[in-house]
């Protein structure tokens, strides 16, 4: 490493608060013997101040989210449930219900999430048209464990205590893991209406009644128009 680079590293360490007291004294003594070094030190501190401000501003401008503040997708404004209830968290909660329904009860569609009305040919209307709720089919089954769905802030979702079922028990309820949550025909209808479907796996947490936690992958589907 060249002497120049080593000096740059020393200045950087000083600015970053990484030097010990003896090391600082040594650097300052060197600056006394070499006035140009004083200038470099001063500029380095100004540079650091500017960079610190700008880096923090950059992170804020780019909306790097704080812990627990996630969940708002750029697709939310196209999400019928979020639009109708005026709250992104409504969609999130609905998504968790959807997850539970898809995994455990095989709800045949998303219809129960979509309200009435909306713009013609909106995703909500398309889904509502194929509604088939499976919610009512869950309450008569109790496995040895139940679990509580929680939202992204770890708060329990009201009335979201569900039984943990074995595959066999779920099958008796009509759960078919190979079956798409949104039927292929409906997906085609979405695409014809100008929407792009983007399926992906997401992850939710559920707390079991014995205190253990389950980490549940679920299928999520983003819907956006081709123009966006």
């Amino acid at each position: 490493m060249s002497k120049h680079t080593e000096q740059e590293l020393q200045i950087q360490r000083l600015v970053d608060g990484e030097l010990t007291r003896p090391q600082i004294q040594q650097l300052l003594r060197a600056a006394e013997a070499e006035p140009a070094l004083w200038r470099e030190l001063a500029v380095a501190f100004v540079e650091d101040r500017i960079l610190a401000n700008e880096a923090r501003q950059y992170a804020r401008d780019e909306a790097v989210l704080p812990a627990g503040a996630s969940g708002h997708s750029r697709y939310d404004h196209m999400n019928p449930t979020a639009e109708q209830h005026g709250s992104p968290s409504a969609w999130r909660s609905a998504g968790l219900w959807l997850a539970a329904a898809a995994m455990l009860l095989c709800a045949a569609g998303l219809g129960f999430l979509a309200g009435q009305g909306g713009k013609p040919q909106s995703p909500g209307e398309l889904m509502a048209g194929s509604a088939s709720s499976g919610r009512e089919r869950r309450s008569d089954q109790n496995g040895p464990y139940t679990f509580q769905l929680v939202d992204n802030q770890g708060q329990p979702i009201p009335n979201a205590v569900l039984p943990l079922l074995t595959e066999e028990a779920a099958a008796q309820l009509g759960y078919d893991p190979s079956r798409a949550t949104i039927p292929a025909a409906l997906q085609s209808e979405f695409r014809r209406a100008g929407y792009e479907l983007q399926p992906e796996i997401k992850f939710i947490e559920a707390r079991m009644n014995d205190g253990r936690r389950l980490s549940l992958p679920y299928s999520d589907l983003k819907i956006r128009s081709y123009g966006q």
């Binding site: 380095a44 100004v46 500017i50 950059y58 812990a67 796996i201 992850f203």
Partner: protein, 173 residues
């Protein structure tokens, strides 16, 4: 050390929540898209849970999460076949004959937008370490602990990142 049986002693949900802010910054720095980064964080969480062997030493958790996070960012670029933000510009040599000095860029950075643009155009690894340094306020030791690199490497990476940032600001000057 990896040990599947003992891995249960670490509460991974808590670990993910605790490490979430800096992991998000790493993803944001590497993929250049806030929303994609948020989605990728979900994939990191899934990847953590799918791993058959997880670290049992709490001191190894952060660098392990860092590697998984970076891997997810790389996979994202492979999937989308997208290049990172203007890397060709970032990799260019400075137009000036001599290296941009701190004074040069301090004078040039009067225009705040120039610094912001330069940060956006930096190579993802450079942007990542500067953002972690200044927004998490980590020491070299903490940066090393989280990224699994040596302190010397961190020092050098910071030095190079700052030098490249100066060059980019000077290009706009």
């Amino acid at each position: 050390m990896l040990d599947t049986a003992a891995a249960a002693t670490i509460d991974w949900t808590e670990e993910l929540e605790r490490n979430r802010p800096w992991m998000l910054k790493v993803l944001r720095s590497r993929v250049g898209d806030t929303h994609a980064a948020d989605d990728l964080l979900q994939e990191v969480a899934l990847a953590v849970l799918r791993q058959p062997a997880r670290p049992t030493n709490p001191g190894k958790v952060a660098p392990w999460l860092y590697r998984l996070t970076v891997r997810q960012a790389i996979n994202f670029h492979r999937r989308t076949k997208r290049r990172q933000w203007q890397p060709l510009v970032a990799e260019q040599e400075p137009a000036a004959d001599r290296e941009a000095t701190p004074l040069d860029w301090v004078m040039a950075s009067e225009e705040r937008a120039d610094v912001q643009q330069a940060l956006a155009r930096l190579k993802p690894r450079d942007r990542e370490i500067l953002l972690l340094k200044y927004t998490e306020n980590w020491t070299y030791e903490e940066l090393a602990r989280h990224t699994g690199a040596k302190v010397k490497t961190i020092e050098y990476r910071l030095l190079k990142a700052r030098q490249r940032l100066r060059r980019l600001v000077m290009q706009n000057f």
